[in-house]
Symmetry: C2
Subunit: 251 residues, 2 copies
DNA sequence: TTCGATTTGTTCGTATGTATT
DNA sequence: TAATACATACGAACAAATCGA
């Protein structure tokens, strides 16, 4: 018998890759919501007309990419931005003594504007496209450490206003995910060193001209679609940016 | 029949984990040298008395950790530090225009000293232990961009002298690997911003007091054994540090 | 508390495809 | 062409964790 899937059109060679991209498509379409279980491996196998091993191989890769989360005896779930597990995957600032702490955030401003040139290229949209621009202050140990300047395409977040934003429960990416179905799964960051300008220095309670770490981040969703551009300015007097490749472990 | 391995003592639960740690042990012991193939999956399966699927699962993880490299039709090889594939995994400085370029390096000094406090804690050795300390200048596009201050335990590199070091063919980690059997498989980096001191500024041909990126790196071998501590100072006027989690792709 | 159904985790085995030498 | 090695796909059995009856 020919598998119902193998008989389909133009599989990108291996069967499990086809299964993976179909699951990814459904994930992107919101068929299963974050935190919810996807169908069991046995059910998916029957549905796709492939063996359970093929399903497992497809899911293996999605789990490695942190898009799905397996739990023995329970099921396989769409990863959320509310677990500690994923928090420190997107937040890299730690104390110089090695301490890891989640920041308290304070919204400083929320404006509707249009994409400047830099915003546009990073977000792959046309200059002048409506955007939301949010300024955020992150405190660690009660002291301001990071100043965030966030730009997102307005079209992705239709009715987002400053009260919704400031009154959110968890992280920003958690808000994107839970209320707008926008799932940040990967980030790309470029770091450089600079001198604090007067306005930023005031936010961070440091002197103008003090050295600061500047992080330019693009947040990406399924199929590497950019959904947020963020410039963070960090006071690294007592904190550092941690880049620990492959200590993800648990593999 | 009971598998020859399962009958052995105290497997850390799953069989494939035991297989993995045995392969890792042999790798660390230098049974197979970098660039050489390890035995075929079928041969390993017979040797361990387990199924080929179990071998594959163990090797899968070692490949994901970039310790091994599979090539269909050829075999499975011990990863080396000479392939482009791995170079940019350990070198993160790119042009602000996105250009990736391998640096020209110039050795500035090579000294035999002893571990200072910071060196000792990072390398997990006692303060005062003999070390080698090397200063290196990295040029991109002909201009100095990175100043490296490298400390390694002398015991790991018995007869290493400055001519061997300066006259090496490829990368520094390639030298560690090929001549001393020291295999760097992972790095952990902590980044901060600072003002250039006079001596470093002179090396980088910038003004003292200019902002620089400071990278403190620990290079790790099998079982997370630290083998090198390196402080890099980067002029980020025209370059950036790229942290691209999970664009490793090919998975 | 116990039991059974469900779901993922591990291990085995086999067959066939594809790349390399 | 033939042999070898990894890649894909299938199927089956049992273990371990979870959850509700």
């Amino acid at each position: 018998m020919i598998g119902t899937l193998a008989a389909g059109a133009l599989a990108p060679h291996p069967l499990y890759k086809e299964v993976k991209s179909r699951i990814t498509r459904d994930l992107a379409a919101g068929v299963w919501k974050p935190g919810e279980p996807i169908p069991s491996e046995a059910r998916l196998a029957r549905g796709f007309g492939v063996s359970i091993g093929t399903i497992r191989k497809a899911i293996d890769e999605l789990v490695a990419e942190r898009i799905l989360l397996r739990q023995q005896g329970r099921g396989t779930f769409v990863a959320t931005h509310s677990e500690d597990r994923t928090l420190f995957y997107f937040f890299h600032i730690v104390g110089k003594d090695g301490s890891r702490e989640l920041p308290m955030t304070e919204m400083l401003s929320f404006r509707k504007t249009t994409a400047r040139k830099e915003d546009a290229t990073r977000l792959a949209i046309a200059p002048g496209t409506p955007t939301l621009r949010i300024q955020n202050l992150l405190k660690l140990g009660g002291k301001p450490v990071v100043f965030d300047d966030i730009v997102v395409p307005g079209a992705l977040f239709p009715d987002l206003d400053e009260h919704t934003f400031a009154g959110r429960d968890g992280t920003i990416y958690g808000l994107y995910q839970a209320r707008y179905g926008i799932n940040v799964i990967r980030i790309s960051e470029r770091l450089s060193s600079a001198l604090a300008t007067g306005t930023v220095a005031a936010r961070l309670a440091i002197e103008a001209g003090a050295p600061v770490l500047v992080i330019k981040r693009v947040a990406l969703s399924y199929n590497d679609t950019p959904v947020e551009y963020r410039v963070s300015t960090v006071n690294t007097a007592a904190h550092e940016y941690l880049s620990d490749l492959w200590k993800t472990e648990g593999r």
